[in-house]
Amino acid sequence: MAGNDKIERLFNLISLLLDTRRPLTVNDIREKIPSYGDHTDDAFHRMFERDKNDVRDLGFVIEQEDIDAWGETGYRIRRQEALLDDPGFAPDEMAALSLAAQAWGGGADGSLGLLKLSVGSGVAEPGSTGWLLPRVTLDRNIAVLFEAIVGRKRVRFEYRTGGGGEPHAREIEPHGLYHRGTWYLAGYDRARDALRNFKLARVAGPIELTPGRGPDFEPPSKAELGIPHGPWEGETEGVARVAFSPDTAWWAERRTGARRIEERGDGWVTLEMPVAEMDSFAGWVAGFADAAVALEPPELRAAVAARLQPLAARRSRDAG
């Protein structure tokens, strides 16, 4: 396997740099790692540069220091800094942490992190518990956004709106990331001069950092990070009144935190709630079928009815 050669070489390089007491020169390293010897000078130097980057990407700090009067560089990895000493986790802390870490799935960053801690602390991490948390994945785009948020760099990506159609280029100052069933990016859209939320599932292609060094923007305080919940939350567009059937009213109330206005003799309950996006709210109400009816405002009533009409008029043949 081609991958095996590279793993072997990198593993040997890391072992060598961890084990050495004194910094090693490039030539020392080339002599000591057999597979480096098989290459021409140029090829070796290119390979060594790439390998150093890979080792750094794995989280190791390669220390470089001048080791003689001619300024030759020596390399090593200090064990003390690179490896994890006992982080001092008590068994209950380890158990609680593993409860959280199982969400990330085997091999993922979180679970590998947990395995590291469980060696370091000498406390066994417990096995399965009575629940499964959602699999939250950290893919390449998330890694880029992490970097952008920390470095305060603008990002560019192609984005499809909820209405579908062709994706359009966006340039965003990333303020934060949140996950509710799926990942969202919250940030400032300069072209639109507005704070917006972007569903990462709708990003087409990779997210790129804008070129150039140094921070591009000053992030807002954390309190301003707006997370939308549903069409009834956010900046209010209007107030709606909706009547719900006896069996659904409690649920709608619990879900939206709406205000109870009236309970009719037949058990139907009228709720009043602020609405952020009247149109998507109409879709939400339509989804209750005949278990809810929009009462006010008239535009909402019209919007719900307009959604239902074409469906009620459809014949089976029209469906395709």
């Binding site: 064990r79 490896l83 949140y178």
Partner: protein, 325 residues
């Protein structure tokens, strides 16, 4: 992406070495489970390790690595008895998820968890701790939703095998039912919590959405979980569990209904001209789909089954009647 796979694999091997040395008693299948790998993958990791060591790579310089009977043996790697420190991504993953779990209602472990999170900074590479903390403040995972106050009680019931009497809203039939369930597992997926339970009404394993449980009252009964119950079937959420009652559903979505792809677990997808999509999914129940399709309005089209076409039309007509009075 072979390059990425190589470093991912190396990342794992660098933890595998100290972990196995610290857990000599672990069986092959335990190691595989912990690291989320197959036996073949473990065997090939061990093969690589056998070739690794320190110069001059004589027999006494190479790592000892082999699988004997049901155990992995790793030795002669004194420079790697400890794992690498946590990377930024690993620390953030734990911090963010840990906070989310600690914030769940009724979490008894919340205090231990917060203590553990407080110690994480010391386990990160020097210089990374500050950035990891700053970043974690700007990344949030939300596990709960309104109506999840029952979660703590359900968790207890799962742990204690306690039978529950629940009042449940079946959205498909728009009715409240009272039933006894044996809760086996809680899982969260696509923004909702679900409880997987044996439903006494049908005697079968069913999925209940937690926010639709109005009340859950513990009964005096303790149950024995069915021997065939396999929690790992639900690892990717409750939807990807095929059942014999499944119907094959095909939907065409106009651009305005493309959001359905984000909330429905579908099996196949095809892009059609004009920014439209065709998706295929399997489900034992149509009622939840009817509601979703009503929300989407005319931007969604049922290709098959005819049963679903009729159900959508009837439901729309019944709802519309409320507006024509």
């Amino acid at each position: 992406m072979p390059a990425e796979r190589t470093t991912e694999r190396l990342k794992r091997i660098l933890v595998l070495v100290p972990w196995v040395m610290a857990h000599q008693e672990a069986t092959v299948s335990e190691v595989c489970e912990r690291f989320g790998i197959t036996r073949d993958e473990l065997a090939s990791d061990v093969d690589v390790l056998m070739m690794c060591g320190l110069p001059p790579f004589g027999p006494g310089d190479l790592i000892e690595a082999f699988i004997e009977e049901d155990h992995v043996q790793i030795g002669m790697a004194d420079y790697l008895t400890k794992p690498p420190r946590l990377t930024r991504a690993e620390a953030i993953a734990l911090l963010v998820m840990g906070r989310a779990v600690a914030a769940l209602p009724g979490m008894e472990e919340a205090a231990s968890l917060r203590n553990a999170l407080g110690k994480l900074a010391g386990a990160v590479s020097p210089g990374e701790a500050e950035r990891a903390t700053e970043l974690a403040a700007r990344v949030a995972v939300e596990l709960g939703a309104a109506g999840d106050d029952l979660l703590a009680g359900l968790r207890h019931a799962v742990d204690e095998h306690r039978r529950l009497r629940i009042t449940y809203y079946t959205s498909g039939r728009d009715e409240m039912t009272e039933r006894d369930i044996d809760p086996l597992l809680l899982c969260a997926s696509l923004g909702y919590w679900y409880v997987i339970a044996v439903d006494h009404k049908s005697g079968e394993e069913r999925t209940f959405r937690v926010d639709r449980i109005r009340d859950a009252v513990p009964t005096a009964d303790v149950f024995t979980p069915p021997p065939g119950f396999d929690p790992s079937r639900y690892t990717d959420g409750p939807f990807f569990t095929p059942s014999s009652r499944d119907l094959l559903v095909t939907l065409d979505l106009d651009p305005e209904a493309a959001w359905i792809r984000e909330v429905v677990p579908f099996e196949h997808e095809k892009e059609l001209p004009g920014g439209r999509y065709r998706i295929e999914l399997r489900t034992p129940h149509l009622a939840w789909l009817v509601r979703l399709l009503l929300s989407a309005g005319e931007a969604s089209h049922v290709v098959e089954p005819a049963e679903l076409q009729e159900a959508v039309r009837d439901a729309a007509a019944r709802a519309l009647a409320l507006y024509e009075r």
